[in-house]
Subunit: 455 residues, 2 copies
Amino acid sequence: MERSVDVVVVGAGISGLVAARDLVHAGLEVLVLESRDRVGGRILNEKLPGGEPIEVGGEWVGPGQHRIHALIEELGLQTYPTHTAGRNIAEIGETRSQYTGKVPKMNPLVLADIGQIQWRLDRMARQVAAADPWDGARAEELDGQTFATWLRQAAYTASGYSFFRTITEVVFAAEPEDFSALWAAFYIGGAGGLDPLISFAGGAQQDRIVGGSQRIALALAEQLDERILLNAAVTDIDWSEQGVRVVAGGTTVRAQRAVIAMPPPLTGRIRFAPGLPGDREQLVQRMASGRVIKVNVAYEKPFWRASGLSGLANSDRRLVSTVMDNTPLDSSTGVLVGFVDGKDADTCARMSFDERRASVISDLVGYFGPAAQNYIEYIERDWAAEEYSGGCYHSFTTPGTLTRFGHALRAPIGPLHWAGAETATTWVGAMDGAAESGQRAALEVVRKVSARASR
Amino acid sequence: MERSVDVVVVGAGISGLVAARDLVHAGLEVLVLESRDRVGGRILNEKLPGGEPIEVGGEWVGPGQHRIHALIEELGLQTYPTHTAGRNIAEIGETRSQYTGKVPKMNPLVLADIGQIQWRLDRMARQVAAADPWDGARAEELDGQTFATWLRQAAYTASGYSFFRTITEVVFAAEPEDFSALWAAFYIGGAGGLDPLISFAGGAQQDRIVGGSQRIALALAEQLDERILLNAAVTDIDWSEQGVRVVAGGTTVRAQRAVIAMPPPLTGRIRFAPGLPGDREQLVQRMASGRVIKVNVAYEKPFWRASGLSGLANSDRRLVSTVMDNTPLDSSTGVLVGFVDGKDADTCARMSFDERRASVISDLVGYFGPAAQNYIEYIERDWAAEEYSGGCYHSFTTPGTLTRFGHALRAPIGPLHWAGAETATTWVGAMDGAAESGQRAALEVVRKVSARASR
C-alpha cells in the first residue's frame, strides 16, 4: 500500500496522538503509524475480573501538570483522588513502622540527613535549566558522575543513602548508578522538586483518570479515527529536505515531514537513509530505559482498609519495594498495585511466572498479613520485555551524555521532528511531558509545512 | 533467494571471519552475511597517492596478543615495527617539550602523581577477573562510578588528572565520564596493564602488518570464498531451539545456529522474534561506542625524521591529541596519522570537511612546523558516521551495566551465539580480542551442531 499525506507520525502513544491531533487541527493531512495492535504506548488498561479497567502502565496525574489536565478536560474525562486514607507501612533499615502523613517514623539523625540530602537535591535541581540542562555552570561536573556517586557524597548516614536509593528506584525504575547526577537534577527540576514528584496529595500521584489512564489515548484515537494505522512497525525512513518516505511492512507513506514519537532508545532500530548525524546517533546509543514490572493484585474487597491501612507500603528489603491501593473508583474489588524496579526487576524477570507470582504474593503477605494470600487475580506487566517499549517508566541519559548530546534530543533533522515524553522540558517521562512534546513537535511542523489548501 | 546452511555468521569483521573459518574447518556448511560491500568491519585499508595501502581503522598488534599473531602467521602475513626513532613532542599543561623514551619531561610532583595513579589503576585492573569482571569484591562499587569520578579521587594534582583524561581519550576514544571504573579496570586488565596498552615497543602499538591490517580480513575472506555474501544487512532473525531464519534484504538463510559478530550496540537494530530476554535487551541499550576520527596525512617525504623527530606527538590542548608516524614499510611517501577522540571528535564532526581538514593541518603545523602544510593527500575516517560501525575503536558499558548485565555479553540464547571484539576476555576491543571471540563462538557452536556428514 502506498499513501501520501502532509505529515506522518510514528508512534501512537500520547505524544504521537497529541501531535497528530494538533496537526489535524492545523488543517494538515496526517497518518499515524503504530507498531502495536493498540494505541497508548506505555499507557494501557487491562480488566479486573469484574470488568473494571485497571492501569498496568502510566497512571497518575497531579497538580502543575497543566498540559495533561487541559487534555483530560478537553476530552471530557474526569479524575478522582488516589486512595490514601489510613496508616502507611514502612520497612526501613531494621525497623518496621506504621505512620500517617508523609514521613515514616525514623531515627532523628537519619531524618535530619534525609532532610539535608533533599535540600541539596532540590537546590541542584533548581539550578538546572529545563530547556538546556547541558548549559549550567555545574553541568559538566554533574554529568560526569553517576547519581549514586552524588548521593554517596551528599549522605552522612548509611540509612539516608539507602533511603534515597529506594526513592530513586521508585521514581526512575532504575538504579542511581544508571544515570548522571545531571539527569537526576534535570528530571527532578522538571517536576518542580522532589516533593511534587513523590507525593500523593499535591504531587504526581494525586489523581487517577476515571476509566483508566489509557482512556486519554483512546479518546484521542477516536478523534483521529482512520488516520491511525495499527500493526505498522516502521523499519525504514528515507529523508531529504524534500520530504520523507516511511516504510512499515507492506505500507509506504510519503510525507513532507515526520514526527517520530518513540522512546529515544527505540529510534535506533529504524534505518534512516541517509544516516542521522553523529550527535543523534551517539545520543541514542547512550540512552537506556528503566526496568519495572508493575503488578496489580485483585481481592474480593480492599481488606487492608478495614484494618485502618492505606495500602501504601514501602520497603528497602523486598522485591516489591512499593505498594499502593489501586482500587478503581466505585469498584467493590480491592486492588493492590506493586512495583518491582531496577535490580529487583532483573531478579524477578529471571524467575518463571509461577515463582514471580509467588514471590510478589509473599511480599504482600509480609506487608499486609495472610489475607493478602487470597487474591482473585494477578496481573503483571514487564515493560522491559515489550519489544515496542524496551523499558519503563521512561529512558534516561547515561553519564556524560546530556552535556555532549542532549541538544540532539529535540533538534529537528531536516524533515524529522522528535516527540516522546523524554523530549519534554517539564514533567519529563510523564504523561504531561508526553503531551508537551507532542504539542511542541506539532508546532515545529506547522511552522514548516504549508497546508494542502494553501498550496 | 533462500539458502540453507549449518551455521550463519552475521558480520565479516575479523571475529565473524575467524568464527566462519573455524566452523568450516570443523566440517560445517557456513554462510557469512555482511552488510557492507567489503570485509573487515572496523579494519580497513585505503590507498596513498602512490598506491601503497594505508590503515584507516584498527592497525597495530603487540606482544602478548597471541591469537592475532597466530592468525597472522597462519595466513602467511608479516609484521614490521612501528616507526618510533627520534624525539617525541609533548604539550602538557603550559609546557611544550621534546623527549626520548616513554615519559615526557614533567614537573617531578606531577610525575610522581602520574606514577601513583598508574600503580592504583594497574592494581585495580589486576583485581578484576577477565572472564567474570562482574564478580569481584569491589565490582559493584567500581561499576557504580564513572571512570572520571575514580580518576578525580585518585589524582592529587590537576595535571595528573588531566594527563589521564588524555590517556583515556587516546585508549578508549571516549571520555572518562562515559563508562564505569569497572569497565576501565576490565579493559586495562585484559591487556595486562596500562603500559602494554599504551606502549610502542613491548606494547599494543609495537608492530604493523605488511600490506595493512585489512589483509588479515582479506586473507580470511579468500579462504572462505563464496561463503561470504556482501551487501546483505541483516534485519530480522527468527529463532527457536530448532534453528534460525535470518533475513537480509531479498535473502533468507535458514541454519541450525547463528553467530552474531557485530558491535553489541548494533545488534539492537536487528528484530529478533521472539524478542531477546530482558537482560540482553538492557545490556544492548546500555552499551555505546567510542567516537574517533582517524586522519592520515601524506607528504612527499617523512620530513619530520630529518629534524630528528619520531612523528609521535601528544597534546592536551589540540583537537588532534595524538599523532604518530604512519609511513608504510618501504614507502617513500611520509604519513602522519592523527587521532581526534571523544569530545574533540564531537567538535570536528560538526565542522564542514574543509574546516575540519584546515583544523587538522593547523594542528600538524603546530606540532611539526610549516612543512606540515605541504601535504599531498588528506584521508579521514569518521567511524561514528558509519552506519555499520556506529563508532570506534569499540563499545563500552555505561555505569551500572557490567555488574547487572555483563553476563549477557557472551551467553548464548538458544541457537544465537555472540562474537565481536567486545565479547573477548583479553585484549577486549582489539583485533586480538576479535580473534579470541570468533574462536570461542565457533567452539560453542561446534559443541552443539552436528556436521551434515554425521547426521
